[in-house]
Symmetry: C3
Subunit: 214 residues, 3 copies
């Protein structure tokens, strides 16, 4: 298996893991079959669709390449048929989710660079590719996006995308470069889960919670 | 009246029905005049705008063709001036909404095919055209989108878009083909309302509601 | 300082003011550092990104021009380092916010016209440029967008964009035209705050709040 085939394979692994997280969240909210499939597909492909629209790669790959839709639906089927098992799989799901995060961040940054755009855009769209779907899931399920609260999640995507962009600007385009960038993201994400690292928040005194209005 | 003029006319009927549903929902949330008009316009045109952005048809027709805006504002005016009557009109509004759903699903699929895209994209964007505006309405009004819960709504749009794409691939491009596809969607939607058909959901035991985190 | 430099300067002032309003709202919701920076950036640049996608100006300026990101991050830093002071600054923040509103509405309309689009599109996208970021903030923080409720905010953006489009169609393209349009928006916004002007809402009897379903 050459590098490109391996990357495509892992891209679908990431899609699968993200779709499972979407299907589980949608099932918990008691959505119907169509709702569950929609949320699963959106978590897996939503970020990439926004990225593609922003760099002018229309129609977006997530909507026009059938393997993404097929993988999402397969993840959805697995979740529904083996729900108790999937729910017990918290550790593996978090692992796959971290791998998906790293792959999507790096692939998103790489695609933006391949379209000739700047480093800043590549890093921002790498983050969007990786976390956009999860944000859409939370918005549709009417809750404040999990990634905006205190966890190293989007920050790990930022690291992966930035390392990949750095490698590309440094001229290191060997086959191992994107793998190393992906690894940086995955390791940071898993370490933060394991050690309970969090970004600082600024929970102040009670009065800070009073609404300021507009 | 030839086929194209009839289609344009019914497209505006769908816009009108969707805008009324948006205006009613916004008025119930006690939004102001501008908020009501915005939600009405977004329900009517939001899905089509996302579709156009995804197939590269910019600027989106909903934003640049004045009849859509004018029809939405007219629906908004009717809703506000005759609110008690409109509220009593539940049956006709549901009928028009079903017609709008069918027309938007079929027209959305057809437009994607006309831009040279694949069957999968056409079906997905047909659904998005038909239900996207309603999803935006629910997101803006901070509730879980109605279509993700147990009703045959997006599924009817899926049927309409799929029938239209099937006809086109089969080479059946006679004047009646889009009408038949629209009819399939409308009939499924109305039948599901009349007979109370629903998609399966998976409401499990209480423990299923516990949040999994991420 | 010539007119163009002045405009760029004030565009960044608007970005700064909008980013501060986003950072304050995110801090009140106890988001972490990354969440606060994301919301600040999105309030400042989200509307412009949607506008650029709709007129085909990809990649969007807000994502690819670093001064916007840098200004947003600076505003975020100021908010966090001097939070008690910023919170006390309600009046100046509202003033800068009004200036940002006017500048974004006029610049958004002007950019759409410069891309050769119609007056209707220019006005709609002027409004989207000015208020889109604030709507995204409210959607992400799970609340009904403030601008849809009873305040003269989006309506002021509408006025600014419409005046600018009117000037352009009338052939008044002198250096002072966009400034006058911006001023119209800012004055309307500030006057509405000072005098408590509001758009009519239609708060009816209690029964109006009952949900109609779909």
């Amino acid at each position: 298996m050459n590098s490109h085939a391996a990357y495509t394979f892992l891209d679908l692994v990431g899609t699968f893991a993200f779709a499972i997280s979407g299907a589980v969240a949608a099932r918990q909210k008691r959505l119907d079959l169509f709702g569950i499939a929609s949320i699963a597909f959106m978590v897996a492909c939503g970020g990439g669709i926004v990225r593609d629209v922003c760099i002018g790669a229309v129609p977006p790959a997530g909507l026009s390449n059938w393997p993404y839709l097929a993988t999402s639906l397969a993840a959805c089927g697995v979740t529904l048929l083996a729900y108790p098992q999937v729910r017990r799989l918290r550790q593996p799901v978090l692992l796959f989710d971290a791998i998906g995060l790293g792959l999507f961040a790096v692939a998103g940054a790489q695609k933006s660079l391949a379209y000739g755009h700047s480093a800043e855009l590549a890093i921002l769209l790498g983050i969007v590719s990786a976390v956009g779907g999860g944000v859409m899931r939370d918005v549709l399920l009417s809750r404040v996006p999990a990634i905006l609260e205190r966890e190293i999640y989007a920050s790990a995507a930022l690291l992966g995308a930035a390392v990949q962009v750095g490698f590309t600007y440094a001229g290191w385009t060997a086959w191992w470069a994107p793998w190393l960038a992906t690894l940086a993201c995955v390791v940071l994400r898993l370490a933060s889960l394991y050690f309970g690292w969090r970004l600082p928040a600024f929970a102040g005194r009670r009065e800070c919670l009073a609404r300021d209005g507009q």
